[in-house]
Symmetry: C2
Amino acid sequence: MSAIITVDWGTTRFRAARLDASGAVLEAIEDPRGGILQMTGEATGFERYLADKLGPWLGDAPVLMAGMIGSRQGWIETPYVEAPASLSAIAGKLQRVPFAAAPAFVVPGVVCRAASGALDVMRGEETQILGAMALESIEQGLIVLPGTHSKWTRVENGQITGFATSMTGELFDLLGTHGLLARTMTPGAFDGTSFLAGVERARAPGGLSHLLFGVRTEGLLNGLSGEGQHNFLSGLLIGAEIAGMRSLDPDAGAAYVIASSELAKRYGLALTHFDITATILSGETCAHAGLLALAQHAELLS
Amino acid sequence: MSAIITVDWGTTRFRAARLDASGAVLEAIEDPRGGILQMTGEATGFERYLADKLGPWLGDAPVLMAGMIGSRQGWIETPYVEAPASLSAIAGKLQRVPFAAAPAFVVPGVVCRAASGALDVMRGEETQILGAMALESIEQGLIVLPGTHSKWTRVENGQITGFATSMTGELFDLLGTHGLLARTMTPGAFDGTSFLAGVERARAPGGLSHLLFGVRTEGLLNGLSGEGQHNFLSGLLIGAEIAGMRSLDPDAGAAYVIASSELAKRYGLALTHFDITATILSGETCAHAGLLALAQHAELLS
């Protein structure tokens, strides 16, 4: 018997699992071409897709969905909850969607004004953060979610009090594919020396737009190989993210990092270089724990 | 009678003029598809192209060429002169190319270690800088050349003592064409309010990768239009360039800006916002004056 069905429905990918009441995974599926941008955008399209994918799992257990499924391009636009946001505030704003086969809910994202003064938003990460808080009993701390758009989140008194996004992964993809740097760079295996040289360079003044040009001159004048340049760029962008976030949160001395093993390795090294102690957590485990905590808090479990 | 034939030969464009001994332009031509990347890469290809283009101008007057024509992808790779670099040091390294129809020379670029610790290079800009120094009698000062790769150059005792590149224009093109921000941005007319909001945002902490995400949230949550986002991004990137360069050169209080009218307007506004007084100079006029000064110094004029 499933206690809950969890869905991580992003722009490019659909993932679901059925869990028992302890949070153990009974079964899981993934569709790498099931992202919301692959759907027609109509509500009936999302409904039919979900019924098809989850078929025999559906019944009394609640379906909780996190991610871009709650955005304007998703099934139903779910308003952001304002930070400071507690588990209870987010659980109180679960948005029920019309779905015949099971009770189904979308988790709202969170909005805040970052310490830079810019408005900032997350959708999906809040669920992993709530899961990390539940699993690690975090009342105070810093939680980092590296990725295309990295999120640095401050937790105080058991609430998400603020966060800031860094477009690190997106810049890495753009600069590795188009423009001057891409011309001489080659994707390749991880190379810790070039990576850490990039992390260290990020501590220099001059600003990121300037330091990026140094990737080119390392190749042109210092003979750094195409693969070395790619690793240097990765280190430079991750280092710039850490330096920037530390300028917003100077006390950052330890962080939970929710990441896949490849990103966890890079962020672990870079954070250590900045004297920040990293504790690595699994994204999938955190997402499951977050959805379970939300369902419990909203009294959706039978 | 021409005293000198000037050539600005870049990656995408070819421009040439014939000047009299006072530097006045007698005649000028431009080929927007004559850049070095459009050539075959063989020396004979460059030679034939130049003979075809300049035909009746050619004779005794020296042909001086600046730009990427001296790079590895150009006619002849011309080694960089190390900063501090004087007019006389650069004039002493003019590289003659084999060309039957006239005496022809390539101006070398300049290399330095920027104040950030990164190696930095220029090719073509050194000629405009030498021209600005000649035209404005600059012995000390800051010369800014905005563009795809902006160059901030420090002049002391009549020499180029150091400089730093910022990939501002390239980032603007990449982010306006690909990725998250491009999805909701629309190129449009200049809008000073959105532009200056972006410049001001660049003064905030958090780092550029973070502040870029704010372009998205200004649209999502503050209703900034697609054109407004494009102007905000322009201001943010130019502002980040200025803030970064000021971190390398805290005394910057005045600058000569060598730019086209559109860029001059944007940089003039942004520099004023940072309390830097800008004096605008024309790129073409500076390039001509630089080549003339080099030819005079190398005693190439008859």
